[in-house]
């Protein structure tokens, strides 16, 4: 049994061909890999295939992992490569959607007689945590992120959902930090604009 080994020890044993250690490695990271694949692919079948392909790649290439980056960063890189390849093979990605969207913020906002800015952007209604499970809201969230082009979606998921730094995301996606920030800004605005009608209705 190898349940209490540290990540480093587990990887070292698996690199030496210890199958029980590799099995343990899969069990330790299977949810992280599947969950991330699902968030990026937005499809159970594609996520399952990506999940399998990722661990097959890990099995074949584990000897190449040198420990200079975090193991999870290495895993995320393999998942994103597999997702990207799937998109090329199937050519099923949604038509590119224009990311340029009106935000409603103006250079010269309206002011009242005393010079105070008048609020023209409505505040969003309160969203209790329970309502996130609400079917209608889940549908709105799913549809919005599905429409977000892949290159932006993967940045949004890595940064805002998985909580990686701009540097880590850049390393995984082979992008500069400014490019990661730019894509993240556009992704956030894109999603916000699509949720806006529902959240202000």
């Amino acid at each position: 049994m190898t349940p209490h080994l540290s990540e480093h020890e587990l990887i070292r044993k698996a690199q030496k061909g210890d199958e029980r250690a590799f099995t343990q490695l899969i069990k330790r990271y299977e949810t992280l890999v599947y969950s991330f694949a699902y968030k990026v692919c937005r499809d159970s079948d594609k996520a399952s295939e990506t999940w399998q392909d990722t661990f097959v790649n890990v099995y074949r290439k584990l000897h190449q992992f040198d420990g200079r980056s975090k193991f999870t960063t290495w895993l995320y890189s393999i998942v994103t490569n597999n997702c990207r390849m799937k998109r090329r093979q199937r050519k099923l990605d949604l038509a590119s959607v224009s990311i340029e969207s009106a935000t409603g913020l103006h250079d010269q906002p309206k002011t009242d007689e005393e010079g105070h800015t008048i609020q023209t952007i409505p505040s969003w209604r309160e969203t209790p945590l329970d309502s996130v499970m609400d079917k209608e809201l889940r549908g709105v969230l799913d549809e919005a992120i599905q429409k977000l082009p892949y290159d932006y979606r993967v940045v949004f998921v890595l940064r805002d959902i998985e909580g990686l730094s701009a540097e880590e995301a850049g390393k995984i996606l082979k992008l500069s930090v400014p490019a990661v920030k730019s894509r993240l800004r556009r992704a956030r605005v894109f999603l916000r604009e699509r949720l806006n009608p529902y959240m202000t209705a």
Binding site: S48, T117, I121, I161
Partner: protein
């Protein structure tokens, strides 16, 4: 002459740096703007809510069938 902070500038900055503390000189200027601009405040709050909603999505797990297939491919005991 001191440059006036415009709402689109604020948007561009806060959209990128939501997760960092506004402590630099430029950020202090943005904070002053936010304090008196209901539009930028509403926009910033809605961006934070957008991220919060997505981060609360239920965690997904691989199916037992997919797991079984993987272990068969790698010839490993589950």
């Amino acid at each position: 002459m001191k440059k006036t902070v415009r709402c689109p500038d604020v948007l561009n900055h806060i959209c990128e740096e939501l997760d960092t503390k506004l402590t630099t000189a430029q950020c202090r200027e943005l904070k002053r703007h936010l304090a008196k601009c209901p539009n930028c405040t509403a926009y910033l709050d809605s961006l934070k809510t957008t991220i919060r909603l997505y981060s609360l999505a239920p965690v997904k797990h691989p199916s037992p069938k997919a797991r079984k297939q993987l272990f068969a491919i790698l010839k490993l005991k589950a």
